[in-house]
């Protein structure tokens, strides 16, 4: 069959559905059938799955002309999805294609949810089309004889590549692809990504820089030009609108008419606990919604989630309160309206969420922005501009993640073993490890085999062995078993299963939250009031309770920050507050009284001004700085400045950050004049100072935790049987200290610092903003009390960092009192 005939098959299928293929779909079919690799830039719900399932199936038809009567078995294509929750949806669309085209192809899913029975069956006979996650793909590489499973595979599609790209799962994907390229002779690699700033780089990371695969590839853009309307919810009485807070419940009544006037509404919250609270409160205030609204977040059990997703599809729900769990996949045509509660922190995310509404091609998307505190209205205004100008941020890929590489090498060693020369060549062709030297490679091999760089006496280190022919292999079953349990680079807090005492799975919850509960405590989770009974074998046992409670389950792992692009827009909006009313956006205008108060007590900085405020409170001496550069840059700048000030005289700081500025709090006053006289904002010795400031804070320590787990130095335990988080936490903490004291040149220890630098602190952005500040006039205001700008910062009690140049003894002598709770 020639290409024209194949296209005919696809076109007539579309005609039968009363659809017409989009140009981007046809372009993708063509490129795929020509044997090209590529990156498809298409948003969720645009028909992107059909853009790639079709050519995969058509290719099979082409190679097997008697496809209707004969079935050629074996794996032909792999579809990678970052969320296993999406796999059902993807499977359905694949099944539709293979059945309607009368092939006998089979479709299967392999993920953490797949039963042992199905896995075993798959091992004997893989489905033709396999839908899986990056972790499960690694697990397949940990299977003996994996090369036979993959050898006839002709395509791998990495869906939602933008979500995976900037994470260590992205690195994991790069490594898996580097192996598959060698095993599968006719492999086509495709990625699907929503719009991000660094589209070209995304393609390069997927296919490998300077690779043949990249040479033979295309970038296809869907260009659907969807119209998006953003509406801010502005309270009638701005005077009583709070200055801080993150829940936004004050505006609950404004949401009710939106829900009522729309077919289906999605309310996006930023955290799972916020999601729980909103759901609870809507029902409390408006019981008439009972049965018509639901909740969806990543910690709720799968059955409930699937039920909610189906209910959205068949329009039996008026509204769903959700988190990023509904950001991806799942085509919800009936969704008419989207409400974003609190700042989305990034334009791409906001656009993606907006795109959840008016999902049908050509329809307008409507998104409401609901601010949770007054200052967030500035962000709302900035978002309007961002949407108008289509400003989108980059996703930064990781470089030199030695932890992921060690994990990968161990994976290969437990299946069929590996020969270093061959694998080094593959690995050095990936984006992540393109600059890795042979010395470092040798270091990693030594580490795998000896647990150090030379043989030591009294040592019994055991992991990977070198066999006589030079093959690296794990022969110890215990090592192999522990490693299999540990594959996966998403390291969050340890999750515990929440179950009724009598049985019945409710969801998962982070140990850090559970650790605060006592027997008999009642907390809200998954929309229910539950009484805590005990923790046993990584399970939280609970029973239903009628008691009222203010304890809402919370999760740590979801802190977001403003991107560089958003920050700039935000500053511009702020500056506009000084302009004539008619030049201001409605959001900025509504904040007039706050700006007025800020001006009365301090100033609202203009483009050429940099504001510092100092004041004293019961907590100590506060110094607040406002670069308006986003949380991460503030973390870096705060540590840097804190470090430089601490060189002037011994002092200890508690640091707080948000997207607008940072605070240095200490028990004695800072001599601000001296700070200004000594030009502490200089970019001279920036790198050096930043590095030293890192040693003075805890940031690298926290990064090390993930590295220790990924590289297999800390064992997270068996599912349902593991050691508690407390052991894990103290282990990686202890480990950090032992490395610091005994092996500070260890590559994994060093990696903790590099990562903090590149991914946490965004050193590049820091330099740019310091340069900007250098051109500004510094205005130091000594205030009586916290200003409207300072208020959200100084009240942050949770996420503080510490920095000290004092001798511990001196600090403790001053802490004369041990305060009790």
């Amino acid at each position: 069959m020639n290409r024209q005939q194949l296209f005919e098959i696809a076109n007539s299928w579309f005609t039968n559905q009363d659809w017409k293929p989009f140009p981007f779909q046809k372009d993708t079919w063509k490129a795929f059938l020509q044997g090209k690799n590529g990156l498809l830039n298409a948003p969720t719900g645009s028909g992107k799955t059909y853009a790639l399932w079709f050519p995969i199936v058509l290719n099979y038809i082409k190679q097997n002309p008697n496809y209707k009567t004969k079935h050629k078995k074996g794996l032909k294509a792999i579809w990678i999805t970052p969320l296993r929750a999406l796999s059902q949806e993807i499977k359905q669309s694949a099944e539709r294609v293979v059945t309607d085209l009368e092939t006998q192809m089979t479709v299967g899913i392999r993920s953490g949810d797949t039963t042992t029975k199905t896995r075993a069956a798959q091992k004997k006979q893989m489905p033709d089309l396999l839908i899986t996650t990056p972790e499960s793909l690694q697990l397949l590489l940990a299977t003996k004889g994996y090369d036979k499973i993959f050898k006839d595979c002709q395509a791998i599609v990495v869906d939602e590549w933008h979500e995976i790209l900037g994470t260590k799962r992205g690195v994991q994907m790069e490594l898996a692809l580097s192996r598959l390229k060698s095993i599968c002779k006719k492999l086509r690699i495709w990625g699907i990504s929503a719009t991000i700033g660094n589209m070209e780089q995304a393609r390069e990371v997927l296919l490998g820089p300077a690779s043949k695969a990249l040479e033979n590839s295309v970038l296809i853009k869907a260009n659907l030009n969807k119209k998006i309307t953003v509406k801010s919810i502005i309270p009638n009485k701005m005077e009583t609108f709070p200055w801080r807070g993150h829940l936004g419940l004050h505006l609950l009544e404004y949401v009710v008419p939106i829900i009522k006037n729309s077919r289906t509404t999605l309310l996006f919250t930023n955290t799972r606990s916020q999601c729980e609270i909103w759901f609870q409160k809507i029902l409390e205030k408006h019981p008439e919604f009972a049965g018509e609204i639901a909740m969806h977040h990543g910690s709720i059990n799968k059955e409930t989630r699937i039920w909610v997703e189906n209910a959205i599809r068949n329009e039996s729900l008026k509204a769903v309160v959700c988190t990023s769990s509904l950001d991806l996949g799942v085509d919800f045509a009936p969704v008419e309206t989207v409400v974003q509660i609190g700042g989305p922190k990034g334009v791409a995310r906001f656009l993606q969420r907006a795109g959840r509404s008016g999902h049908r091609p050509g329809k307008e998307s409507v998104i409401y922005f609901l601010p949770t505190h007054a200052i967030e209205l500035i962000e709302a205004s900035a978002l309007q501009k961002a949407v108008k100008h289509n400003t989108v941020e980059d996703r930064i890929p990781y470089l030199n993640s030695y932890d992921v590489l060690l994990q990968y090498l161990t994976t290969l060693a437990i299946s069929d073993g590996f020969y270093p020369n061959k694998i080094f060549k593959e690995v050095s062709e990936t984006f992540c490890y393109q600059a890795m030297s042979e010395d470092y490679w040798q270091w990693l091999l030594n580490f795998l085999v000896m647990g150090s760089q030379s043989l030591q006496s009294y040592d019994e280190y055991k992991k990977v062995e070198i066999e006589e022919d030079g093959k690296f292999k794990v022969n110890n079953r215990g090592v192999a078993m522990r490693h299999r349990f540990q594959i996966g680079t998403i390291v969050g807090d340890v999750n515990l299963t929440v179950k009724y005492q009598k049985g019945g799975y409710i969801g998962t919850i982070e140990e850090y939250f559970v650790s605060k509960l006592n027997k008999g405590d009642v907390f809200t989770f998954a929309g229910r009031n539950l009484e805590f009974i005990r923790i046993k074998d990584m399970q939280v046992h609970v029973k239903n309770s009628k008691k009222k409670t203010s304890k809402v389950s919370s999760w740590m792992g979801s802190r977001l920050t403003l991107s560089a692009q958003m920050s700039e827009l935000l500053r511009n909006e702020l500056y506009s507050s000084g302009e004539a009313m008619e030049n201001q956006s409605v959001e900025i205008r509504s904040l007039a009284h706050i700006f007025e108060r800020q001006r009365r007590e301090s100033i609202v900085p203009q483009p050429d001004e940099f504001l510092i405020e100092t004041f004293k409170s019961r907590d100590g001496h506060h110094a607040v700085f406002y670069p308006f550069e986003g949380r991460f840059v503030h973390e870096a700048m705060g540590s840097l400045l804190g470090y430089r000030i601490s060189l002037l005289s011994p002092i200890t700081f508690s640091l707080a950050f948000n997207d607008y500025g940072f605070e240095l709090l200490s028990d004695k006053p800072i001599d601000m004049q001296q700070v200004l006289d000594n030009n502490l904002f200089t970019t001279d010795f920036l790198l050096d100072d930043l590095q030293k400031s890192l040693n003075a804070t805890e940031m690298a320590r926290r990064k090390f935790r993930d590295i220790a787990i990924i590289s297999g130095m800390v064992f997270t335990g068996y599912p349902n049987k593991g050691i508690k988080m407390k052991h894990l936490q103290s282990n990686s903490q202890l480990l950090f200290e032992v490395f610091r004291d005994y092996e500070p040149d260890n590559l994994l220890f060093q990696q903790a610092f590099t990562e903090t630098f590149e991914h946490q602190l965004e050193e590049g952005r820091l330099r740019l903003s310091m340069e900007r500040i250098a051109t500004q006039k510094i205005i130091w205001k000594q205030c009586e009390k916290p200003t409207p700008f300072a208020f959200p910062l100084i009240t942050d009690r949770l996420s503080r960092e510490r920095l000290s140049s004092e001798k511990l003894e001196d600090r403790i002598r001053r802490m004369a009192a041990l305060l009790m709770k």
Binding site: F447, D459, D619, G620, D667, F715, S730, N746, M815
Partner: protein
């Protein structure tokens, strides 16, 4: 370096290593050394820096040199887990010691008592002397004072400007004293502090009595 205290009219010295010395009996208590822990981790594929294991022997030597005791009592969890090559280092270490050695068994001590006895170490669930008794797990007994370990006690100190710091400590109530863990690669547990207890924090090479003031009891 050391801090003197009186309990039931007997004199004791608290040492910054975490060891506790009973003057009249010339008896040195050391708790939760967890020898073999680093080797145990390495044996299971976790590459903890191996050099760190020598530190445990050095720490014990420092404490012994300070007091030159006639009797050393290990307060349990002397070895972290099953036998490994660190035992050979321990054998050499014991070989150089002249004093009496006693091990009060802890929950981690699963190595056969025969091995200890072969080195001349007496192994016992608890050890009593006069009004004092030593156990691994903290216990309370009428009219008796208890020395124990097991908990790896630490204390959190707080101050102005939202500062706080955690230190290993000796934790004393009217009926018992819990010793800090001496081992290098061992964690610690933050104790709740009440008005009834006394806390001696370890800060570098000093032992610092902590004043316990309460906002409310």
């Amino acid at each position: 370096m050391t801090h003197p205290i009186q309990i039931k009219e007997e004199s004791f010295q608290l040492h910054y290593s975490g060891a506790l010395f009973w003057e009249n009996q010339s008896l040195l208590m050391m708790s939760d050394v967890h020898l073999g822990k680093i080797s145990h981790f390495r044996k299971y594929g976790a590459a903890v820096p191996q050099h760190a294991l020598l530190k445990n022997f050095e720490t014990m030597d420092v404490a012994i040199a300070q007091f030159d005791p006639k009797h050393v009592v290990f307060m349990g969890d002397l070895f972290h887990s099953s036998l490994n090559k660190e035992w050979e280092l321990f054998e050499d270490w014991v070989g150089q010691k002249k004093m009496q050695l006693t091990l009060v068994e802890g929950n981690h001590d699963i190595i056969s008592p025969v091995k200890y006895e072969a080195l001349g170490i007496t192994i016992t669930p608890e050890f009593s002397l006069g009004n004092f008794f030593m156990t691994h797990h903290p216990e309370e007994r009428e009219g008796q004072f208890n020395f124990s370990g097991h908990l790896h006690p630490a204390v959190r100190l707080t101050g102005l400007g939202r500062q706080s710091v955690r230190l290993r400590c000796f934790y004393k109530s009217s009926v018992q004293m819990i010793l800090p863990a001496m081992g290098e690669f061992t964690g610690s547990h933050t104790m709740a502090v009440t008005k009834e207890c006394e806390v001696f924090a370890i800060l570098g090479d000093t032992v610092l009595p902590v004043q316990v003031h309460g906002r409310k009891a």
